[in-house]
């Protein structure tokens, strides 16, 4: 197996007296789907927020490796730089779309940095230079291709807040993919989805894994999704990693069973 896309080493996060994440280490690989699971309060979202730059870890390091071997120390980077330069994209547990803006606008904002450069930091844009127009058309095309892929093209001009819940989730993923990431981080993407929608999500994530040359890291509680599509599962409990392996290994790991179900009283 090639070098890991993301290496998390001894990641620790303390809030005052509470240690939410305790020396957790794991690797995420390109073209793999890695799931982080664990009971509530296990520290999954905290670890996630450290990786995507919304918290600054107390200690440990998080290294992202691009194909050309450039490395990014994510624990030192600002949140927007992690997305802009290291090319890590994320979605949110509580869906953070730009509700008052249309589906298309949401997808265009994802391509903001690219378009800003093309508009010569707005000056070129004001004068509507041909190169800006080309960049705008290309951006629209990319948005359209993602809308087609997730199946929301018919709602392109509708405000994002008017979409049904399942479509909103898909839009959030499409929007994250429009930033051309190398690592896609999803925070409970299946939350609130009915079985049919979960199936569609599985198909979408598998398709992204197979065709888009990215690594996927997700937090999830819905075992039907996790067991179905994960190549690699990491289990956290009380901030510590208690298991690390493929779906079969983890499902049968006694430590995992104990964490979720407790020890059976004799």
């Amino acid at each position: 197996m090639s070098q890991p896309l993301l290496s998390v080493n001894q990641l620790t996060m303390r809030f005052g007296g509470l240690t939410a994440v305790d020396a957790v280490s794991f690797d995420v690989y390109r073209n793999h789907i890695t799931a982080v699971i664990g009971p509530n309060g296990a520290g999954k979202t905290t670890a996630f927020n450290c990786i995507t730059g919304f918290y600054k870890p107390t200690s440990g390091d998080i290294v992202l490796r691009h194909k050309d071997d450039t490395e990014f120390k994510l624990q030192e980077m600002e949140d927007f730089r992690i997305s802009q330069t290291a090319k890590v994209a994320r979605t949110f547990q509580n869906i953070r779309l730009f509700g008052g803006m249309t589906v298309l606008e949401n997808l265009m904002i994802a391509q903001h940095n690219h378009l800003m450069k093309a508009s010569a930091y707005t000056i070129g844009g004001i004068f509507n230079t041909p190169s800006y127009q080309r960049a705008q058309e290309a951006a629209k095309k990319k948005a359209l291709s993602w809308m087609d892929r997730v199946g929301i093209t018919d709602r392109a001009d509708d405000p994002a807040a008017s979409l049904p819940y399942g479509a909103q989730r898909k839009l959030e993923i499409a929007r994250a993919m429009c930033t051309d990431p190398v690592l896609l981080c999803l925070d409970e993407p299946a939350a609130g989805l009915n079985p049919k929608e979960s199936e569609e999500l599985n198909a979408l994530l598998r398709s992204i894994r197979d065709h888009d040359d990215v690594g996927i890291l997700l937090i999830e509680h819905d075992m039907s999704v996790v067991m179905e599509i994960s190549d690699h599962i990491i289990v956290l409990d009380y901030g510590r990693k208690i298991s690390d392996g493929n779906a079969t290994e983890v499902r049968n790991d006694p430590a995992v069973i104990k964490a979720y179900l407790g020890v059976v009283e004799e």
Binding site: D79, F80, G100, M101, L104, E105, M108, G125, A156, D157
Partner: protein
């Protein structure tokens, strides 16, 4: 006593509630309407004038108003207040078709305005004032409406523009067209200076800090006498000319050059077209910016700052650019103001101005440029109209000055406006890029920004 939806609608209880309202009004009006302090001019200090008739009238008015409310508007027993749909007017103003016709029509009207029969000096000045506020409104709309940053100190940029123009033209002899971009640049710089410290502030905190900034600038302008002239301000600012041809009665003056009879109106009409041109420029630039990545980033910032950052958008630059560009237009407007008045003083740049401009943006509807035009006409024009209500002198006595009521009614109007239409006249939003149809986004989906 509070109405919790279970108030009965029988006549006795209506009367009872109206009486309670009247008692409350009595307590409120007693030390204000009812008893007035006046100076006796002697060492004994103040004495009191009792105005029982006025007090009685005030209380009576409240009683009648409350009864009318109870009879005609209050929801009856168990009835729910229906949710108001946007009125036909609001929907019309928000639709792009209407905007495409009303906008140009207004522009045509504005162009012919100075030549209409009733446009005398006073009316033309009013027109200039309204257009100035429209321009300021469009500038502030970038900051508050698009980027969702609550700025209560916008007047500071207006002041920077005005004082920059004054100082540059007095000390360096620069002409209007030279000073204008420099004033805008200086104002934009101050916009960035203001923006830096407030980057992490949200909502009401951001509002109060920007207010504090505005006040600091006003106090500095008032007290730094050597630079700004202090409370006396700066006067003898060179008047603008028609591209070098002065507006006077000399042989080289505008009238002589164009074979017209001299009239002081000529300079005013020139100023009118000058501000109109500046306003149109502001309109086109802001409309264009909205469609560019930067404009979308502003709106995305308003909707959800954290989501923006997760997409790699540098929100620091986004905020600073909103402040800077909004400030720049304020600076342009300030230059014009200084050139028109030929005199600047700190009194023109107080918090009331910031509040007025903010009210214009909010009443107009945060996203609608056309809305700002209408609300500026209503607020500025409407308030001027009150000065004309001389007939009130006959009601309240001859030493009653209706212009004192101007601000009073302005404050009341702000409150009523928010109670009636909290999201402004045109509360909808038009998307800036679309695949097939440009569909209006209704107000309930638009976020108002948390700072």
């Amino acid at each position: 006593m509070s109405s919790n939806g279970h108030s009965s609608s029988s006549l006795p209880s209506m009367i009872k509630r109206s009486l309670i309202a009247t008692v409350i009004a009595f307590l409120l009006f007693l030390p204000t309407l009812g008893i007035k302090t006046a100076a006796s001019g002697g060492v004994d200090g103040l004495f009191l004038i009792y105005r029982w008739a006025l007090l009685g009238a005030g209380c009576g008015l409240i009683f009648v108003a409350r009864m009318a409310y109870e009879l005609f508007w209050a929801p009856k027993d168990g009835e729910q207040k229906p949710i108001k749909a946007p009125s036909a007017l609001a929907r019309a103003l928000g639709s792009s078709k209407v905007a495409k016709t009303v906008g140009p029509a207004l522009l045509v009207f504005a162009i012919v305005f100075p030549f209409l029969p009733f446009s005398d000096r006073y009316i033309l000045d009013l027109g200039i004032l309204i257009i100035t506020y429209v321009m300021l409104g469009w500038g502030l709309q970038i900051v508050v409406g698009l980027a969702g940053l609550l700025d209560l100190g916008y007047v500071a940029f207006y002041a920077v523009g005005a004082y920059s123009y004054a100082l540059l033209s007095i000390h360096f002899g620069f002409g209007f067209w030279m000073c204008l971009p420099l004033a805008g640049l200086l104002a934009a710089t101050w916009g960035i200076i203001l923006g830096f410290p407030v980057l992490r502030l949200r909502g009401d905190y951001l509002a109060i800090v920007t207010l504090a900034f505005g006040e600091i600038i006003r106090v500095v302008l008032l007290n730094w006498r050597s630079f700004t002239g202090g409370s006396n301000g700066l006067s003898d600012i060179p008047r603008p000319s028609f591209f070098g041809i002065p507006f006077n009665q000399s042989e080289h003056g505008f009238a002589a050059t164009f074979g017209l009879e001299y009239s002081s109106m000529q300079r005013i009409i020139f100023l009118y077209f000058l501000i109109l041109a500046l306003a149109v420029f502001t309109f086109f630039v802001t409309a264009r910016l909205r469609r560019l990545p930067i404009g979308r980033a502003w709106e995305a910032l308003r909707e959800d700052e954290i989501a923006c950052r997760s997409l790699g958008v540098n929100t620091v630059n986004t905020k600073l650019s909103a402040f800077a560009i909004g400030a720049m237009f304020g600076g342009f407007a300030g230059s014009f103001f200084a050139a028109k008045q030929a005199f600047v003083s700190p009194e023109s740049f107080n918090f009331m101005e910031s509040a007025t401009i903010l009210a214009i943006v909010v009443l107009g509807g945060m996203s609608s440029q056309l809305g700002v035009v209408f609300s500026a006409i209503v607020m500025v024009g409407g308030v001027e109209l009150l000065r004309q209500l001389q007939f009130l002198k006959s009601v309240f006595g001859n030493d009653f000055d209706p212009s004192q009521l101007r601000l009073l009614l302005f404050g009341l109007a702000m409150v009523l406006m928010m109670l009636w239409r909290p999201r402004g006249l045109v509360s909808t939003r038009m998307p800036t890029v679309f695949l097939k149809d440009k569909k209006t986004v209704s107000a309930s989906m638009i976020s108002q920004g948390r700072g």
